[in-house]
């Protein structure tokens, strides 16, 4: 699997927020086997060092970073944040979020397409956090996106895949674009389900960070992603309405009346 020409061995991308401690974050990243972690940027005062120590931790882990524009509600804000992130993290990758509604954190898809176009033309490699809407996805590809990241459910909701039909349609419509289910996953079976339907990867954060044991949950998600991918390649059965006996009936002993 590759994103913008970068080959990756792991199909699990992990967020770095909301862990009980930096040490647990570090152990969870290792247990997940993630090669890409999402990061953000926030205000820091002259006497604060939180950002500097966080950056030292991430660098020591040797993982690639995918900065986000979390919390941005306008195109201008997202574009400026992307520029700051590109300099700060020395990467052209950007997870583009333009939030349109505060309760669901639903993407503002109109602003998203506009920002994606501006950033792609400026040399960014955009990972848009979007919905499963096919037409929006088409516009994002036209704008220059070579990866799409539809939500499974609202960020942090742990609801899993809210619209399986929509996600399947998106997969069928874009067979050659890497698709990542981003947001809303709660348990490893959600990740496995996304992978079984042919998604290239999943991105999650809260499901691991706020689990009772984040390190064990990171490992569980890694196993689920691998299981789901293996199952997809093994071509799963389609559900059917009628029973189909798994044991042959031919040659069955006649024991009835």
């Amino acid at each position: 699997m590759s994103f913008y020409g970068v080959e990756l061995g792991s199909r699990l991308l992990l967020g770095t927020s909301r862990y009980p401690s930096p040490a647990v974050l570090g152990e969870a990243i290792k247990a997940s086997k993630a090669e890409v972690v999402t990061v953000s940027l926030r205000r820091e005062g002259g006497s604060e060092r939180a950002g500097q120590s966080f950056w030292s931790l991430v660098r020591a882990l040797g993982v690639r970073v995918l900065p986000n524009t979390a919390g941005c509600h306008s195109v201008k804000e997202a574009v400026t944040t992307a520029h700051m992130a590109r300099e700060l993290f020395d990467t052209t990758w950007i997870k583009l979020e333009v939030i349109g509604e505060s309760d669901t954190l639903q993407p503002d898809v109109f602003g998203l397409v506009e920002a994606a176009r501006i950033l792609s033309e400026d040399g960014f490699e955009v990972f848009p956090y979007t919905t499963e809407d096919l037409v929006v996805a088409d516009r994002l590809v036209e704008a220059g996106c070579r990866v799409l990241m539809p939500w499974g459910a609202p960020i942090g909701s742990a609801r899993g895949l809210n619209n399986v039909y929509g996600l399947k349609s998106l997969r069928a419509h874009f067979p050659d674009i890497p698709l990542v289910v981003d947001a809303g996953l709660g348990v490893p079976s959600h990740a496995a389900a996304a992978m079984e339907m042919g998604y290239d990867a999943v991105l999650l954060n809260t499901a691991v960070a706020e689990a009772g044991d984040p390190v064990a949950m990171a490992r569980a998600f890694a196993l689920a992603v691998e299981a789901g991918r293996t199952a997809f390649l093994a071509q799963p059965l389609e559900p059917r309405d009628m029973a189909a006996p798994s044991t042959p009936v031919i040659g069955k002993a006649a024991l009835g009346d």
């Binding site: 967020g15 927020s17 700060l88």
Partner: protein
């Protein structure tokens, strides 16, 4: 000169963004900056003159999902 740094009022005696950041303790730090909503690259800080009332944003790496 009175400027706003991450919404806090600061009185600085500095002509450029680079000098102001150094004076406020940001020297050598991994930060990114914007002035009045516009990104200012690190290489442009020494040439970015500040004016009274300017609004400066200083951000650093942070955890994110």
């Amino acid at each position: 000169m009175r400027i706003f740094v991450n919404d806090e009022v600061r009185d600085v005696d500095a002509g450029t963004l680079a000098v102001a950041l150094e004076a406020m303790g940001f020297g050598g730090r991994k930060i990114a900056t914007a002035v009045n909503g516009r990104f200012v690259a690190a290489t442009a800080r020494p040439g970015t003159k500040l004016a009274d009332g300017d609004r400066i944003e200083v951000v650093a790496p942070m955890q994110g999902g």
